[in-house]
């Protein structure tokens, strides 16, 4: 049962990253590449009817985490207190940036909310990357100092950084050079992803330029992936032990690299949706590879005193998990129907939706 909910949770989080990821990416493109009013309108129309529903995946995944793995929810949410609250603030800024921009037609007003939307999207992509870095690196569970736990073995608290910015320090910070590296990976990956979505959903003048951007950024992405794999070795002596024991897991990195290399052909794709498909594959493969490499851990411990959190020692009780399957299956079917209806009605190019103009 734990494994079932683990797969459900990871699936929901991956869907969230792929869906809301294109919103963040669109925001970053909006910040750096949209020069004209027409470009900006194209970008907001491309994500307009979707971003709100995409964000629900985060809330729903949070709910499933709470109910199926309460100990992990409690431990990680209190331990990563500050960055999580800041993510909330950024989500608020992104949302009001999108929702309020069109309410008043005034150059200054629009500029303020354009920037709020763009900067919040950029920081969110960075923060989510850093979050992934923290999960891979692990935390000082129980807040052990000199071999003694100061708290219960599954609780911890991380400040935003410590002075050394080292992932090997006894007292870790949220931001160190390793997690920051993954933050940059997040920004670049989602920028590419967002650009692909804009190409897919609009006929904007930007599209030709965006194809070049994707092509160039893809080299950066490849370099970052290689650097990340090497630094992973520094953090974790045996990063591939899971893959050696279970060779079928190689499918995940394979998917990631298919997505990555596929995108080098971005300039010659016949259909506009193909690029988005490849960047989705890359995100899916990248996330699953990361998660598979630490499996069954969900939050590794960096000390020898307290054990890592695994999906088995953080799960709720058997009865609750089993009974949850019934309502979850019904709800999941309904969600699939809603999404089908929604994407069906807003299918094709979005230039004419006129999002935000009431």
């Amino acid at each position: 049962m734990e494994l079932f909910w683990y797969i459900v949770l990871m699936t929901m989080l991956t869907i969230y990253v792929i869906l809301d990821g294109y919103d963040f990416g669109a925001g970053i493109i909006h910040l750096f590449f949209a020069k004209t009013e027409k470009d900006k309108k194209a970008i907001t129309s491309a994500i307009g009817p979707f971003w709100d529903a995409n964000e629900v995946w985060l809330i729903a995944a949070g709910g499933v985490l709470f109910f199926a793995f309460p100990t992990l929810y409690a431990s990680s949410f209190s331990g990563f207190y500050l960055p999580l609250i800041m993510i909330l603030w950024l989500l608020i800024f992104r949302a009001i940036g999108l929702e309020l921009r069109g309410q008043i037609h005034n150059k200054m007003w629009e500029t303020i909310w354009d920037r709020a939307f763009g900067i919040a999207s950029l920081l969110l992509a960075l923060f989510f990357g850093i979050a992934l870095g923290n999960v891979v690196r692990g935390v000082n569970l129980g807040m052990v100092t000199d071999g003694v736990s100061e708290h219960e073995p599954h609780y911890f608290f991380l400040p935003l950084w410590n002075s050394s910015f080292s992932p090997h320090a006894e007292h870790l910070g949220i931001i160190d050079w390793f997690t920051l590296l993954l933050g940059v990976v997040g920004v670049v990956a989602l920028t590419i992803h967002g650009a692909n979505w804009i190409i897919f959903k609009t006929n904007s003048d930007l599209n030709q330029k965006l194809k070049k951007v994707i092509f160039n950024l893809n080299f950066v992405m490849l370099a970052l992936v290689i650097i990340s794999l090497f630094s992973w070795h520094i953090i974790e002596p045996k990063p591939f032990h899971n893959f050696i024991e279970r060779p079928w897991l190689w499918i995940f990195p394979l998917i990631a690299f298919t997505g990555l290399f596929g995108l080098f052909k971005v300039k010659s794709f016949k259909k506009d949706g193909v690029g988005f498909l490849f960047s989705s594959l890359f995100l899916f493969g990248g996330l699953t590879t990361t998660v598979a490499s630490i499996f069954p851990k969900v939050l590794p411990s960096t000390n020898d005193v307290n054990p890592s959190l695994t999906l088995y020692n953080v799960a709720a009780h058997e009865y609750g998990l089993s009974v949850g399957v019934y309502w979850f299956v019904i709800a999941a079917i309904l969600v699939a129907v809603y999404m089908f209806v929604q994407y069906r009605i807003f299918k094709g190019k979005m230039d004419d939706v006129g999002y935000g103009e009431h």
Partner: protein
């Protein structure tokens, strides 16, 4: 430790109070928009569709505010109340996860269609999407109140040796005797907010001589919805809710009503007075003898337990706050019934639109349903103290063990600043929509 608990409570209280200003209008207003839309489908009179469209604009803005202030609520269980989440997550996580899966997806998917898809879908489908948004928001309320009810009156659980609460009966979460009365009471209260808002804007249009046609429609609809909901919120649902408190939380009931001592010959009902918890008495009171006993047990001399019967360790932690919250809610509720009754009589006599003092009253009444809803929730939440899970888990034992008070104060200040900005923006933009008024469909 004291500081940690204090700031955790302040942050939750502040963020939930601000958040709930928006859903209470969302839930009630979605019902009224569905009504306008249905009226249009039946009569084909454009006025109703224009009214629906106008309120959809307010609704969209209000809904967005509700969403952005709602996400922090789900996160805060984990960030600030980690111990509580760890111990009870297997149970309250069920209903909260169901809210995400059943109602948020429904609302967010169809709201976009409802707002932008009228031309794309035709009127009947448009009505349907509106109805689904209404359904989603009311389902969300139901699952939140189911969670709330479990904390007030825990059912279907067992406690393991390590202190964890585990679910052993899923159905019990929904047959909880606390759930239905609280849910109906709360939903009717949200209809009150919406109908007073609709009536107030209508009165504003009539008094300022613009959009008079819509002014009349809004006042009329607001008054009819307002009368029905104001009565039903007090009787039977308010009465029913109070009886739950008497039965399951007698010490809370004593504190709410300001009863310090048990009276053998029946308890008086206190209308006004200031509790003096140091000397255990009520100052400057105005009270009616024996009425409380009658309302509670339908016997004039029935005995009601005073606070003196309970150990101080289980007394609600903020007795004056609880007492005032409850009395403000009840007082305002009574005024709502009175005003709506008079307005309805004038409406029936076809004199309402010319009775200026009622229109002025309706307009200035706008903030008060918000206050009544807020104090109603304070009554429930302060009444549950000092417990998170009634009689089983103390609030002080539920906070995050590793988050320092300095960190919580930092985020609390951040939330205050950010929400102040949100509040100003909301008022400004809502004011703009209201000032512009409904647009009439052009006759071709």
């Amino acid at each position: 430790m004291e500081d940690m608990l204090f700031y955790d409570r302040m942050q939750f209280a502040f963020t939930i109070t601000f958040h709930y200003l928006f859903p209470q209008l969302t839930m009630g207003l979605s019902l009224m928009i569905v009504y306008f839309k249905w009226k249009f489908l039946r009569t084909k009179i454009d006025k109703y569709n224009d009214a629906a469209k106008f309120w959809m604009k307010i609704f969209a803005l209000n809904f967005a505010m509700g969403v952005v202030t709602g996400i922090p609520m789900e996160f805060q269980f984990g960030t600030n109340w980690a111990k509580f989440s760890e111990l009870t997550g297997g149970i309250i996580g069920q209903t909260l996860a169901m809210e995400g899966m059943f109602s948020f997806f429904l609302e967010s998917s169809f709201l976009g269609l409802f707002l932008f898809g009228e031309k794309l879908m035709g009127q009947k489908l448009h009505f349907l999407t509106g109805f689904l948004v209404f359904l989603g928001s009311w389902a969300s309320g139901y699952l939140i109140i189911a969670t709330h009810s479990w904390m007030q009156h825990p059912v279907g659980y067992e406690i393991l040796e390590n202190g964890k609460f585990v679910l052993n009966n899923f159905g019990a979460l929904f047959s909880n005797p606390w759930l239905l009365p609280s849910y109906l009471h709360n939903q009717l209260a949200s209809v009150i907010t919406a109908s007073f808002v609709v009536a107030a804007i209508g009165a504003f249009y009539l008094l300022s001589n613009k959009h008079s046609e819509f002014g009349k429609l809004f006042v009329k609809t607001g008054v009819i919805f307002g009368l029905i909901s104001s009565i039903l919120v007090a009787f039977p649902t308010g009465d029913w809710t109070a009886k739950n408190v008497v039965e399951h939380q007698p010490v809370t009931f004593a504190a709410m009503e300001g009863i310090f001592e048990t009276e053998d010959k029946g308890s008086e009902i206190i209308l006004i007075g200031q509790p003096d918890t140091e000397n255990k008495k009520l100052d400057n009171k105005i009270a009616v003898p024996n009425v409380l006993s009658f309302l509670t047990y339908q016997r004039w001399d029935a005995q009601i337990k005073g606070l003196n019967e309970f150990d101080e360790s289980v007394h609600p932690t903020n007795i004056p706050g609880l007492y005032y919250s409850y009395h403000i809610m009840v007082g305002l509720g009574t005024i709502f019934i009175g005003l709506m009754l008079i307005a309805s009589i004038q409406l029936f006599r076809k004199k309402l639109y010319k009775t200026k003092w009622i229109l002025w009253s309706l307009m200035f009444m706008l903030p008060f349903p918000y206050i009544a809803n807020t104090t109603g929730w304070y009554t429930a939440e302060l009444g549950r103290q000092p417990w998170l899970v009634y009689n089983l888990l103390r609030t002080a034992d539920g906070i995050s063990p590793t988050v320092s008070s300095g960190n919580t104060l930092f985020t609390l200040l951040g939330f205050i600043g950010l929400y102040l900005l949100l509040g100003l923006l909301f008022l400004m933009l809502a004011g703009k929509i209201i000032n512009k008024g409904p647009e009439t469909t052009k006759q071709i």
